[in-house]
């Protein structure tokens, strides 16, 4: 017990590591507020393209989505971070993470949005168009508001996964929370910073997990 406290819950070490962890936390937060909206916007574009009437565009989007869904995100990140510099494209750690996440998450969000759009019967679009709304108005006022409600649980679930996924940015040395924790661990020879980082993730993400769990039960119960 004593040893456990000494190596996992050591307050002296925690005080020492706190500034590093805090800056890591801010980086994770920054990453989240950049990467999630980017992914949502990209996903919406993907979904709109996949419901277009143009056959080539639709096929292209299906290929894009399947391609990036089959790639483990870490593999994609490494390819972007270590491969692109050989083409003289230097994005830096943050840029590489942002690009890899955009490619990966936009295909997931795109699938969710597409399912949402397809859940709205075609007759609604036709009715809206025949009352004189433009295609864009139909989408904005009729389809998207209903579609968004149908897929809210999936959107939250995917967003939770994206936030958790930001931890892989540590691999390309972006100083986010996990990277900070590992750095603090190697400076102090103590595992407390890693435990602390875990607790920070837990405290921030637990409310989302609870919310999601309630949604999921409702969804399966209403099958």
């Amino acid at each position: 017990m004593e040893a456990l406290i000494q190596s996992f819950f050591n307050f002296g070490i925690l005080a020492q590591a706190w500034p590093i962890l805090l800056s890591g936390f801010w980086m994770t937060l920054l990453l989240t507020v950049v990467v999630v909206p980017l992914g949502l916007a990209g996903g919406l574009a993907v979904a709109l393209a996949s419901t277009s009437r143009n056959f080539f565009l639709r096929t292209l989007v299906v290929l894009y989505v399947d391609f990036f869904r089959a790639f483990p995100p870490l593999v994609l990140l490494m390819l972007v971070a270590y491969g692109l510099p050989f083409l003289d494209i230097r994005l830096g750690a943050f840029g590489s993470v942002a690009l890899a996440f955009l490619l990966n998450t936009s295909s997931y969000y795109g699938e969710i949005f597409r399912a949402g759009i397809e859940s709205i019967p075609r007759g609604q679009t036709e009715a809206a168009r025949s009352t004189g709304l433009s295609a864009l108005q139909t989408l904005g006022y009729v389809v998207v508001p209903q579609a968004a409600r149908n897929v809210t649980p999936d959107l939250i679930s995917n967003t939770l996964e994206v936030i958790k996924l930001t931890s892989i940015a540590s691999v390309v040395a972006l100083p986010e929370l996990l990277h900070a924790a590992r750095e603090a661990q190697s400076l102090t020879y103590n595992a407390t910073p890693i435990i602390a980082a875990g607790i920070i993730y837990l405290v921030c993400l637990w409310p989302l997990v609870r919310l999601l769990s309630r949604f999921e039960h409702r969804q399966i119960a209403l099958h």
Partner: protein, 223 residues
Amino acid sequence: MERFAETFLNWNVMAQYAPKILEGAWVTIQIAVAVVLAGIASGLALAVLRAFRFRLANLAIVVVVDVLRALPPLVIIILFYFALPTVGIQMSAWVATWLALSLVLMAFSEEIFWAGIVAVPKGQWEAARSTGLSFLQTLRDVVLPQAVRLTIPPLTNRTIAITKNTALGAVVAVGEILYQAQSAYSFSYNPSPLLLGAVAYLILFIPVVYFGRWVETRFAWKR
């Protein structure tokens, strides 16, 4: 274009490291299969245990599942591999990766199975019990077959997402595809092995993604 081919599609480098990548693919498959078996079996076991509604056990299950869903998988792997040894619990990188991912899959599949069990109408329990079936018989022969059918699409998607996380093992030097590709990249200072690794993932996971799509339409929830 010539330079592009030489950097990214360098046949000499690829031929040299292809056996390593193949070796890595085998390790990836082994971990993925072991994770799927352990994760789904333990998730189902927990969901069944939860059906007995022992209050203390259920509270423990909810807490464990929530924690495992809130923590990024990479944080759990690093916790197992770098933090646990400081309190005398040693495990190999392979075991750390397998255990972490299995626990994550256990948490997600428990939630999904439990939601399925809850979704089976109460009348089914009552009718089965009144015909003389025991609690266990009711669960095994009446409730679970219906519950599992409901859970197949979400479970398949979640399982696919988690098996792709085997790439995270590279961070703790498990010799799977990404690790082999990455070390080949740093030996040869040429990104071709990374590309080769990416192709290996595509070959492994595109069929899996398509299988997931097929399952989704085959067992689609009728709304």
